[in-house]
Amino acid sequence: MADNSQRNDSVFEAAAHRARVRRNWLLSTPALIILVLAASGPLLVMLAYSFLQAGDYGGVEYRFSTEGWFQVFLARDIFDDTVSVADAHLSIFWRSARLSFLTTVTALALGFPTAYFIATRPRSSRNLWLFLVTVPFWTNLLIRTFAIMEVIKNQGIVNTLLMSAGVISEPIQMLYTDFAIMLGMTYVYLPLMILPVYASMEKLDFRLVEAGYDLYATRIKVLWRVIIPLVKPGIVAGCILVFIPSLGAYVTPRVLGGGRNLMIGNLIELQFGQGSNWPLGAALSIFLLLVVMVALLLYVRNSQKANNIVRH
């Protein structure tokens, strides 16, 4: 008898679980439909497009071709069909990688001390400092890029100040250089570094820092041997969060690079505008996506490892 009711219970429970799962799927489906229509689905269509032949004036011809992928790295001479490495593309990839790396390093150099500073404030004022970090994050990326432009252009405030102080006699050309792009990206993505580093820093047990000093460690030693190892997950998260959008940046290089200093994002756009080579643009996009996915995978690995350490 008791056995029977127990079995009934588990049958009911399984049925209830099934009903809940069905309800969960029903609730999630409308959002998934929109996301598949306007986020995931188009990526698959684009993958297909990267294997089609380019139309003469943009668009595609519906014929299979690997030319798009071929052109990502290689170039074919117009006259004698000799194949060579696509120098123009490689230099753009190199610029994207270099500038993203420099942006990440600069953001870390600025963001780490800032996160540390916020984490060591009294509890009551921490939220206010954090709020100050998040406000720029809420404001339009384009506007922040404009703002940087105002500051560094030839008649901008930096050049004007330097000239009136007599440090320089001619304005320094900062706008429309790689440096400007790097500066702009550091500026717009800095909050993405500060926030995750702070999140790790907040959990830091300062008794360990104190123990370090008790054992006669210098400040530098405590920083390198105690603080940095303990907040490493936050540092890695911040670096990934800055590196990924930098790699795919489009607005910042377009505004601050002045159309000459292209990054991958601008190269992609070019294929859908003047270049009229949609399959190449699609292949470049998938290529960028793959690089970003690898970076994200490293990030997930890192956070799983961090979780394991906490659990042990």
């Binding site: 720029p136 405030i157 505004v255």
Partner: protein, 274 residues
């Protein structure tokens, strides 16, 4: 522990690292200085960006009277209102379907799909949408705002979803169980018990979605048909010509909206201890 640290702080602070405070304060100045410069020069009466010619609201007046700016503002607001409304409703439903439940098969797929717009570079999504919508436009001959609304709704969903989910996970289940004990059906208990508790999360999600939609440049730039400029894409287009402080005036107005919404969400979070 706090106590022992604070007494020691007088002689030797464990918190101190040389130079960190200076770098941090410099960081805050760097974060705000360009924005301040932009805002200040929007009130400059001259066209020269380098020197200050006196206070004036003329650039605001110029922007106000510019019909292209008016149209762009209207389109921005129409798209942002619709996209944030739809995204918030869909995200609330999805959050209800993915939190506070035993893990089930496919849950990770839902997470991955919902968060996908956050992971894929915007330019990649933008180009993919351009390709797809080009096909649809050719087939249906429809060229209205629905393309913009659809794509904005999609990338707003994760931004609305995250605060709603966070709120749901922090919520006390006992009230809902009590409602069920008192024979409330699932709709009644949602409407009368869950929703009022969930409201701050929904509001935060909706405002975040609104700002994200209002600020979007890249996807809008590739999806819009001619004449469908939003404020950000209008501003980007003006970049090819000489920039007047009119752009600064529009930027300042947009900054103000974002800052107000950010403050609101901040206060909302603080009030509800989130």
């Amino acid at each position: 522990m706090e106590n022992s640290l604070s007494t020691r702080r007088n002689q030797f602070s464990v918190f101190k690292q040389p130079g960190f405070t200076i770098i941090a304060l410099a960081c805050f100045i760097v974060l705000y200085m360009p924005i301040v410069v932009l805002v200040v020069y929007s009130f400059n009466s001259g066209t020269s960006p380098a020197k200050w010619d006196g206070f004036s609201l003329q650039w605001y007046a110029a922007a106000w009277n510019n019909s292209a700016v008016k149209t762009a503002t209207l389109i921005s607001i129409i798209v942002a209102c619709q996209a944030s409304l739809y995204a918030t409703i869909l995200a609330t439903m999805a959050a209800m379907g993915t939190t506070r439940t035993r893990p089930y098969r496919g849950q990770n797929v839902i997470y991955a799909l919902v968060n996908q717009p956050l992971m894929v570079p915007e330019i990649v999504t933008a180009v993919a949408l351009l390709i797809c919508f080009a096909v649809i436009k050719e087939l249906t001959d429809y060229r209205g705002l629905a393309y913009l609304v659809l794509s904005h709704t999609a990338f707003c969903i994760p931004f609305a979803y995250l605060p709603i989910r966070a709120r749901l996970e922090g919520m006390d289940r006992t009230l809902e169980l009590a409602a069920a004990d008192l024979y409330a059906n699932s709709w009644q208990s949602f409407r009368r018990v869950t929703l009022p508790q969930l409201w701050p999360g929904i509001l935060a999600g909706a405002m975040l979605a609104f700002v994200i939609s209002l600020d979007d440049v890249v996807i809008t730039e590739f999806v819009k048909a001619p004449g469908q400029d939003t404020l950000p894409t209008y501003m980007l287009g003006q970049l090819r010509r000489a920039i007047t402080p009119e752009i600064n005036a529009i930027s300042t107005a947009l900054l103000l909206i974002s800052a107000i919404l950010a403050l609101f969400v901040f206060l909302l979070g603080r009030k509800h201890g989130n």
